[in-house]
């Protein structure tokens, strides 16, 4: 019961901040709103008893969004949002597409007929251990691929962003 309460509460917080991301005029506020939306999603992970993932989400997203805030201020024409300006296009189409996609996903959630599992979840320490074994044994190749992808992205990003002599 208390779990439902927490999931609903953090879910509402996540949705509220996600809504604020695209409705506020100030860039800093919208970056911070995204940050708190992600933090609320991390708190939902905690409420869903995935402790390691929840704490990881709370940590990673906060650092990502702090960096994002920095870049937004660097590259925005009007970061403070002191003068009202239009930064959207094809608004009607976007709303229509988003509503249709959202309704489809909600419908799938409501009428999916999920076969709920009955077994209990392992304790947090056991979960972290099992996750580590999964990474290092069965899914090692997947994890290695993720690592190599990170390396490739690092090199590509540096090559993109480096200042070339004119």
């Amino acid at each position: 019961m208390i779990q439902v309460l927490f999931v609903v509460l953090f879910g509402a917080v996540a949705i509220w901040f996600a809504y604020k991301v695209f409705t506020t005029a100030s860039m800093m506020r919208s970056a911070l709103a995204l940050l708190f939306s992600m933090t609320a999603v991390g708190a939902m992970f905690l409420a869903l008893q995935a402790e390691f993932l929840g704490v990881l989400q709370i940590m990673m997203m906060a650092s990502e969004m702090v960096v994002m805030a920095l870049f937004m201020i660097m590259y925005m024409m009007n970061p403070g949002g002191l003068a009202a300006m239009e930064m959207t296009h094809q608004k009607r189409l976007s709303i229509a597409v988003a509503v249709v996609a959202g309704l489809l996903a909600v419908g799938a959630a409501l009428f999916g007929g999920w076969p709920l599992a009955t077994e209990a979840v392992a304790a947090p320490a056991g979960q972290t251990r099992e996750l580590g074994l999964e990474i290092m044994e069965r899914s090692m190749l997947v994890f290695e691929t993720a690592g190599v992808t990170i390396l490739v992205a690092m090199i590509a990003t540096t090559a993109l962003a480096i200042r070339r002599p004119a």
């Binding site: 695209f22 992600m38 869903l48 930064m87 959202g102 996903a105 979840v121 990170i150």
Partner: protein, 102 residues
């Protein structure tokens, strides 16, 4: 309603808001924010499925780790593109990027 359905609905709403943002914003950084929200919705789905359908399969949790990697990569590459674009054109407004149309 079970917790699973509640989580899935929250994830669906996050995805819809992210989709709206990615389609409607004209600024590259704001578009990336929309993509991040969509990915967050996907991650929430995976965690909820892991918890209520297959709590014994830890590949579900690992998949969330891979998704987090994807999010970080999307940010890094996106900022690389933004930096390159800002250097050459002085703006990251995507309305002005019509020459990419090919």
């Amino acid at each position: 309603m079970s917790v699973l359905v509640v989580s899935l609905i929250v994830a669906a709403v996050l995805f819809a808001i992210g989709l709206y943002g990615a389609l409607s914003q004209t600024n590259l950084v704001m578009i990336m924010m929309g993509v991040e929200l969509m990915l967050a919705g996907a991650m929430l789905n995976v965690v909820a499925f892991w918890r209520y359908l297959h709590p014994e399969a830890y590949s579900g949790q690992m998949f969330v780790l891979v998704l987090m990697t994807v999010m970080a990569l999307e940010m890094a590459v996106g900022f690389g593109v933004a930096t390159a674009r800002f250097r050459s054109r002085g703006s990251v407004e995507m309305e002005e990027a019509v020459e990419l149309r090919g």
